[in-house]
């Protein structure tokens, strides 16, 4: 009975959410819509990284690289040939790419699949390389991608990046993908694959002794995580309308890692909340950089103050809220209902 009720509650909640998206897309102003879009992209990134870092326990710093692959691949596919010719004025784009144009959705999917391919390449060495070493290998991978994209001028336009991309990303695309990501990864986590991934996180040798195929499952986590990172990259490229190879650097990865850590490793709910909160927090903090007027005294806006306050908040969160905002607990309808009925909750779900 609980299962059935939860199912319908979820359906209702998701429909209500899409109703909200419909209203938001048509009535909110462009600035808020943009923040909501960024929030959705953060959610996709956070949840996909949580699959690798939180559920499988493989500390990966390669997300920016996967995003870069998705962003470039999809942009090169959905840009019109004229736009490409305008962008590539130093070195022309190589042949097949310069002629192709396809709609947004397949372009995005191909971008995601290419990123997943890269995820396969990164995930495979995972069997031998562990812990901090893995972190540096994945970081190295994303650095290699950045350097390659900076130098392969006839494919990526080098350091000039791609400009004037058409804006396809709207709330439907971004939140549609975000919801799909959440569902997909939630289903994956609750399946036997998910249990294998958690077993690997908790004790690799024990998992292997129980017959979990380490190589297969670790690679699976990387492939799925990278796919969604690629999708998020594609959405981001079309949202901000430019792609700069150097934007996909370690700071971007750190930001996603922070979403995961503050949201709680191994908690999709926490990551979703934190991802959305991060988008709004970063915008709210912009206020500190504009000159302020207190009782006739003007405080000049100091550039960089936003990031300083952000990092101070971050350090406080890390030092005092060690397990993320909600630990590794998950939202469940049962917990939600019993919370409102005032009954004691039935403990952590699914653990």
């Amino acid at each position: 009975m609980y299962k059935k009720r939860s199912f319908w509650l979820t359906v209702v909640a998701v429909s209500l959410f899409f109703l909200f998206i419909y209203v938001a897309q048509n009535s909110l102003d462009a600035y808020i819509i943009r923040i909501l879009n960024v929030a959705a992209i953060y959610v996709i990134l956070g949840v996909s990284l949580n699959l690798i870092n939180g559920f499988t326990g493989q500390f990966s710093l390669g997300h920016a690289g996967f995003m870069a692959i998705g962003a470039y691949a999809s942009a090169l596919l959905y840009m019109s040939p004229q736009l490409k010719a305008m962008n590539f004025f130093i070195k022309p784009l190589i042949w097949p790419l310069s002629e192709i144009q396809m709609p947004f959705f397949p372009a995005l999917l191909i971008g995601g699949l290419l990123a997943a391919g890269a995820g396969f390449l990164v995930g495979a060495p995972c069997l031998r390389v562990k812990g901090d070493y893995l972190a540096i290998v994945t970081y190295g991978f994303s650095e290699i991608i950045r350097v390659l994209f900076n130098n392969l001028q006839s494919v990526t336009n080098g350091p000039l990046g791609l400009k004037g991309l058409p804006t396809y990303t709207n709330l439907w695309w971004s939140w549609g993908w975000a919801i799909f990501t959440i569902f997909f990864i939630k289903r994956l986590i609750d399946s036997s694959y998910g249990r294998a991934l958690k077993a690997i996180r908790d004790d690799e040798s024990a998992a292997e002794a129980m017959g979990v195929n380490l190589l297969y499952h670790k690679t699976l986590a990387f492939v799925v995580g990278a796919f969604f990172a690629g999708i998020a990259g594609g959405l981001l490229g079309s949202l901000v309308m430019t792609i700069d190879p150097n934007a996909f650097n370690i700071f971007l990865t750190f930001q996603i890692v922070l979403i995961v850590l503050l949201g709680g490793l191994g908690s999709i709910t926490g990551t979703v909340i934190m991802g959305a909160a991060m988008a709004f927090l970063m915008e709210l903090l912009r206020a500190v950089e504009v000159p302020m007027n207190f009782f006739g005294i003007t405080i000049p806006g100091i550039p960089g103050m936003r990031m300083l306050i952000f990092s101070i908040i971050l350090m406080i969160a890390v030092l005092f809220f060690r397990r993320g905002i909600i630990g590794d607990r998950e939202f469940s309808w049962e917990g939600f209902i019993s919370f409102f009925k005032g009954r004691p909750s039935r403990g952590r779900e699914g653990e």
Binding site: Y133, I136, G304
Partner: protein, 292 residues
């Protein structure tokens, strides 16, 4: 390419190699003792150059005094970072201390942007050090030679510190077995503080030589030397001082030689370093001299 030119590149490469080696040792020492990747190390490196900058411009100290004060302040900074960001998390899961390290690195960078400004600043180059001398047709900047001499001195001193003193013994004991060392009456806080002090001191020395060579300082200047040195430490096997030395030295040398001999591939040099890293880790997952 004549052999004179080759020698010239070799000298430059060696100087840069020693700079990387000193930074890499900072990573490796800390990792060896507390099993923590100190992501803020590159930013401690950056702060050292700003200490020198303000020592000279604000307080108009002579350069040697500014250097000495900067090294001292950097050591204090390193110990402070450990006390604020790492000590409270010593018994927390490793992932929290990693996050704290990342956060500290963010904090130092953004602090530098706000307080020192994001624009690049010129670093003072003492006349004596940037003089060029010619030995057998090889033109060498004096700073390259000084870098090599000071670095070798620092390495010898480090060797003495780690292998001949009581503090070094305590460090090695903690690295070997944290809990047992604690039971043997080793003052953990003091030893770890000391380790950070040594690492930060070496970072300050290398930062000064780095800035003398590339005299532009700005808040994010530590990121790439930091990551490259960290890569060096990993290649050498993190936790091993010898490994960090060899790893750092070869990365410095290879970057210079690659740019010198294959100028059209220069853009790819970071990619090559990381490809080498991935290959080494695939065949020796704990680095060249690391223990399993």
């Amino acid at each position: 390419m004549t052999w004179i030119l080759f020698l010239q590149h070799l000298v430059n490469g060696a100087a840069l190699g020693f700079v990387f080696a000193l930074v890499a040792i900072g990573y490796t020492l800390v990792y060896g003792v507390v099993k923590l990747v100190n992501f803020a190390h590159g930013d401690i490196f950056m702060m050292a150059t700003f200490f020198v900058f303000y020592g000279i411009t604000l307080f108009s100290f002579p350069w040697w005094l500014a250097f000495a004060i900067a090294i001292f302040l950097t050591i204090l900074l390193g110990m402070g970072v450990e006390k604020v960001a790492y000590r409270p998390l010593r018994n927390a899961p490793r992932i929290s201390s990693l996050c704290s390290a990342i956060g500290m690195s963010f904090l130092l960078e953004n602090f530098a942007v706000v307080v020192f400004g994001g624009r690049q600043k010129p670093f003072y180059q003492p006349e004596v050090l940037i003089k060029t001398i010619t030995i057998a047709n090889v033109r060498i900047q004096l700073v390259s030679i000084v870098t090599v001499i000071v670095s070798v001195g620092a390495l010898l001193f480090l060797n003495y510190l780690v292998y001949k003193t009581k503090m070094g013994l305590a460090m090695r004991a903690l690295a070997h077995d944290f809990d047992t060392a604690k039971l043997m009456g080793i003052n953990v806080d003091k030893t770890i503080s000391f380790t950070f002090a040594v690492g930060s001191g070496l970072a300050a020395i290398s930062a000064i030589f780095w800035a003398l060579r590339y005299p532009q300082i700005w808040p994010f200047m530590g990121v790439f030397p930091g990551w490259r040195a960290f890569t060096a430490a990993i290649i050498g096997g993190i936790g091993s001082i010898k490994g960090a030395m060899i790893g750092g030295f070869s990365i410095g040398l290879l970057t210079i030689l690659m740019v010198a001999f294959m100028p059209n591939m220069a853009g790819y040099k970071d990619a090559f370093i990381f490809v080498a890293l991935v290959l080494i880790l695939l065949f020796k997952p704990t680095g060249l001299f690391g223990e399993a």
